[in-house]
Subunit: 216 residues, 2 copies
């Protein structure tokens, strides 16, 4: 019997094109496509459970991390193969912690996709060579402790960082957060420490890298 696949990608073009590609692999059949996380949660049923979910990470509202966590709690048998543009180790690690079983870059070749799906079915995991080497070489200890959000920053600190990614001064941020400027300075200090940066600009760049702040 053919292995059933579901594709989740907010880019319809990508999703349908991928679908066409996979149809050509015999032993695989595409059950359906979803163009958002919500759509997936609606379309999937107890009698329509795929073997594999090809999951795009970067999506609005419900991103790949959330979708993956939802899947693993509601349909733990589903094997999630993450599909991403970026090889940022934070993304990879977060994805694995969310329960993904493989991580594939969108720049890979079609036969690599086939190979990955084969591996997921038979061995239960797959990481492209590039991803695996990244994992080995560049693990930032700060990333390891928190499955969602970012390296160990608490809620207040995350709010602070988001506000700091703007032209507001720290005292204006203090007003917005309803605390004293000195408290904001405390947030700054601890965030600098945790993110290992030495300036506000460094903090902003790092915040973008690890996904705390998204450039509009």
């Amino acid at each position: 019997m053919a292995t059933s696949v579901v594709i989740v990608d907010d880019h319809e073009l990508m999703a349908q094109a991928l679908s066409g590609l996979i149809q050509k692999f015999d032993t695989y059949e595409v059950l359906f496509e979803a163009y958002s996380g919500q759509e997936l949660t609606q379309k999937i049923h107890y009698d329509l459970i795929p073997d594999i979910v090809l999951l795009d990470i970067h999506m609005p509202i419900m991103d790949g991390f959330m979708v993956c966590e939802w899947l693993k709690t509601h349909y733990p048998s589903v094997k999630v193969l993450a599909l991403s543009m970026s090889d940022k180790e934070e993304s990879i690690i977060r994805m694995l912690k969310c329960g993904a079983i493989g991580y594939l870059l969108k720049g890979c070749k079609p036969h690599e996709l086939k190979h990955a799906m084969d591996a997921v079915v038979s061995q239960g995991y797959y990481y492209s060579g590039y991803v695996a080497s990244h994992l080995i070489n560049n693990v930032n200890p700060n990333v390891l402790d928190n499955s969602y959000g970012s390296p160990r920053l608490n809620e207040r600190e995350i709010s602070f960082v988001k506000l700091a990614c703007s032209e507001l001064t720290y005292s204006q941020i203090a007003d917005k957060m309803c605390v004293s400027p000195r408290t904001v300075d405390g947030y700054r200090e601890s965030v600098f420490e945790k993110l290992d940066v030495k300036s506000r600009v460094g903090m902003v760049i790092k915040a973008i890298q690890i996904g705390i702040y998204e450039v509009p």
Copy 2:
């Protein structure tokens, strides 16, 4: 005779999947795919000129803007249909100034792609409704003057901005650029003016938005 198409996208998966999709449209045939701008410049010949080039914007080394400019100088008859994830007006305008004849979002539906290609062939242009409305509503005057690089920044200013997207102080930047700190302050002032920002953080965010700096 079928309309010939070439696909340029650094994501092989995307390129090949797209290719498969287009093969299904009769009246269109895919001549070849290129996974980088350089590959396109090598594969295209006087006896192998496509009617349409589907061009991804975000690519390493040679991005879509460069590829488009190269195409319009060497093969001006080629109709370039830009394909992008983002609807940032800067990207759209830059692409049009580079000679693209249409702009499509990757999130569109397959039939929209078909429709766009049809329109490009028959009418000579195509902009998805979403893109068109963006153009009308959100044009930033700063963007209009410069075809490449970004809103009117010169080379030195661009170097400065890139260095400013780091934890270097302005005087360290001055050292790197081999000019006096005061000169760097001049760069800062003119860049603030041109990009319409009020702080270094604002400049960094804007630089990322308009593509001067790419977050690693």
